[in-house]
């Protein structure tokens, strides 16, 4: 008997066993074995992405500065833009006022770890995250409407308002990622791997 015949003969038997003992067969056994034997290294589905297509979507910014675009912005311009485009949801100066519920989060506080609410000043570990997030998602009602200079300016304003950079700093791809955030030292990676310990 060749391999194929064995498989064919084995099949009904396996099915029968499965129907008798469904509950006891581990569900991990889900991929038919025969399939992996014939699997090609590549299927050839899909197509090559062009550099232009990648550039159009590749807007992420990493903590090491990779992805920061050309352009620049300063605190003064940022303050004006913030007033025009953000204040309505995040408060005139970005802080939470007692008794008023903001449509968006409070963005400005102090840099003390224990202060409430959580803001860029006391809780954000990376300045690059601010640029990345505002560029991709804000203003909430008009996402993607800011140009890179505007995002740099608003980032500068919010970092300054949180007492992290000075008022005369001009932010760009060369220096934004070097801004050290006060909360950085608080963050630890989860190292739990399962097991009995409650941690």
């Amino acid at each position: 008997m060749n391999k194929k015949t064995v498989l064919l003969l084995a099949c009904p038997l396996v099915l029968l066993l499965m129907s008798l003992k469904t509950a006891f067969i581990p569900m991990q056994v889900q991929l038919p074995l025969a399939d992996s034997l014939k699997r090609p290294a590549k299927f050839g589905f899909g197509r090559k992405a062009t550099a232009l297509e990648i550039a159009a979507w590749d807007i992420d910014v990493r903590p090491d500065g990779k992805g920061l675009p050309a352009g620049q912005g300063d605190v003064k311009k940022g303050k004006i833009l913030y007033g025009q485009k953000c204040a309505i949801c995040h408060g005139v100066d970005g802080t939470e006022k007692p008794g008023i519920k903001l449509p968006g989060n409070a963005l400005v506080g102090d840099t003390s770890a224990t202060s409430k609410p959580k803001t860029i000043g006391n809780y954000w570990p990376y300045a690059t995250t601010l640029f990345d997030y505002v560029r991709r998602a804000m203003p909430y009602n008009l996402p993607g409407s800011l140009n890179n200079d505007e995002v740099y300016s608003i980032t500068a304003y919010l970092l300054n308002a949180n007492k992290i950079i000075k008022a005369d700093v001009v932010l760009n791809a060369k220096n934004l990622y070097k801004v050290v955030m006060p909360a950085k030292k608080l963050f630890i990676m989860d190292d739990r791997k399962g097991g009995p310990e409650i941690k």
Binding site: F24, F43, F45, A49, P143
Partner: protein
């Protein structure tokens, strides 16, 4: 009004009513239904089933293009501005009907034409590639049942809370799609790649970084939920599925994956989905820890003396449920509950326990142990391990229900501080 009277009259006299005609295939075959009823049909849509004391005396409506729930059943999600919760207390097993799957999105549900949608995979790869939805469906497919749970799935505060209120941000589906590893082999992944960024095509352009080991383990890109195309609120036309990982990482409306040597530290993995542990902030908690809840009896149900089948769900993001224990004496003693087979890895598992209630006031609780040996903690244990400023993420405490003498069931809210 007139029409209804007229119809009732017909029924009373035994004449064939319009509804009978519509319902009966045979009747339709012998009578020129269309011409007879055309005007009336338009006037009285939609046709609702009649409620009668004797269903054996009325021919019901016939087949329809789309089924509906019984008009006597009304399980609904509970929406807030940003999420909606699964009615766990209305479920009789572990599969969540797709229209009751919990929702959480950050900028609404996008409308995406599947014919135009593409997935880009680039970064540390040999060949950056784009895949249409049709391309993705051509790859060998896999079906897997698992839960998705939001990492912020914990509410407490008052006794009048249902399982839906407390932890309704968990649901289970049978997902179908392609293994992410299949697509990664197709583009060729560089040895330098340790992480990948997944990005959605919603107005939040949601992003999360995922360790590459998950891609080689069990991550999938899925296009079907419970046998049909996934729901818009679940990521139509394609979403990432990371069994056992926090819901937010299972990026919906997936449009881009970028391979990288380091994490991106996106807003959702720094400002959100992180939580205080003593004087530090813990980040990158991916797996959801083992958890269980009794869904019957629960608030607002009432129970009677005698035999009660306690049942509920248990799950773990780290593997299979090993055992579930139930206490009917406020946690003094624990007895093992029966588990509904098959017990699947990273899946809601149904448990049952028979209890002969004598009518005394008590508390009932459940606790799960997963295959790694982890026993679901009490809230006090979590506070002890992490401090009083717990925040709301990755909370999996034991849930207790108070049973009052009169059979009333109430949640037992516990205070953290």
């Amino acid at each position: 009004m007139e029409k209804r009277n007229n119809k009732d009259q017909k029924r009373a006299t035994g004449k064939i009513s319009r509804r009978t005609l519509l319902g009966g295939v045979i009747a339709a075959a012998v009578l020129p239904v269309q011409s007879l009823l055309a005007d009336e049909v338009h006037a009285e849509m939609p046709v609702l089933p009649e409620i009668t004391d004797d269903p054996t005396k009325i021919v019901g409506p016939g087949p329809s293009p789309l089924g509906k729930r019984s008009s006597f059943e009304n399980p609904v999600r509970k929406p807030s501005d940003i999420s909606s919760r699964t009615p766990l207390q209305d479920m009789h097993s572990t599969l969540t009907p797709a229209d009751l799957h919990f929702e959480r999105h950050h900028a609404g549900i996008p409308t995406i034409d599947p014919a135009k949608h593409e997935l880009l995979i680039h970064g540390l790869v040999e060949n950056p590639m784009k895949f249409s939805v049709a391309d993705i469906k051509r790859f060998p497919s896999v079906t897997r049942t698992c839960f998705i749970e939001c990492a912020g799935n914990f509410r407490t505060g008052k006794a009048e809370m249902t399982p839906q209120d407390i932890l309704g941000l968990t649901s289970q589906s049978e997902w179908t799609g392609v293994m992410l590893s299949t697509l990664f082999k197709e583009v060729g992944i560089s040895d330098q790649a340790k992480w990948f960024l997944a990005e959605g095509s919603d107005a939040a352009i949601m992003t999360r970084t995922i360790p590459i080991a998950k891609a080689w383990d069990d991550a999938m890109i899925v296009y079907a939920q419970n046998g049909e195309a996934i729901r818009p609120e679940q990521g139509y036309p394609i979403r990432l599925l990371l069994p056992g990982f926090e819901g937010n990482m299972n990026i919906k409306w997936l449009r881009r994956i970028e391979l990288s040597e380091e994490p991106y530290m996106t807003r959702e993995e720094t400002s959100k989905y992180t939580y205080p542990v003593k004087d530090k902030i813990r980040m990158f908690s991916f797996e959801l820890d083992a958890r269980s809840i009794i869904t019957y009896p629960s608030y607002p149900q009432k129970v009677n003396k005698g035999w009660i089948e306690i049942h509920g769900i248990a799950w773990s993001g780290r593997g299979k449920v090993e055992k579930v224990e139930v206490s009917t004496d406020a946690g003094k003693t624990w007895k093992q509950a029966g588990l509904q087979e098959p017990v699947l890895s990273k899946a809601h598992t149904y448990f049952r326990y028979l209890w002969d209630w004598k009518g005394e006031a008590t508390e009932i609780l459940s606790r799960v142990t997963d295959e790694t040996g982890y026993l679901q903690p009490t809230l006090a244990q979590l506070v002890e391990a992490r401090g009083v400023n717990l925040g709301g993420y990755h909370m999996n405490p034991i849930t207790a229900w108070q049973i009052k003498n009169d059979g009333t069931v109430l949640f037992k809210p516990e205070t953290i501080k």
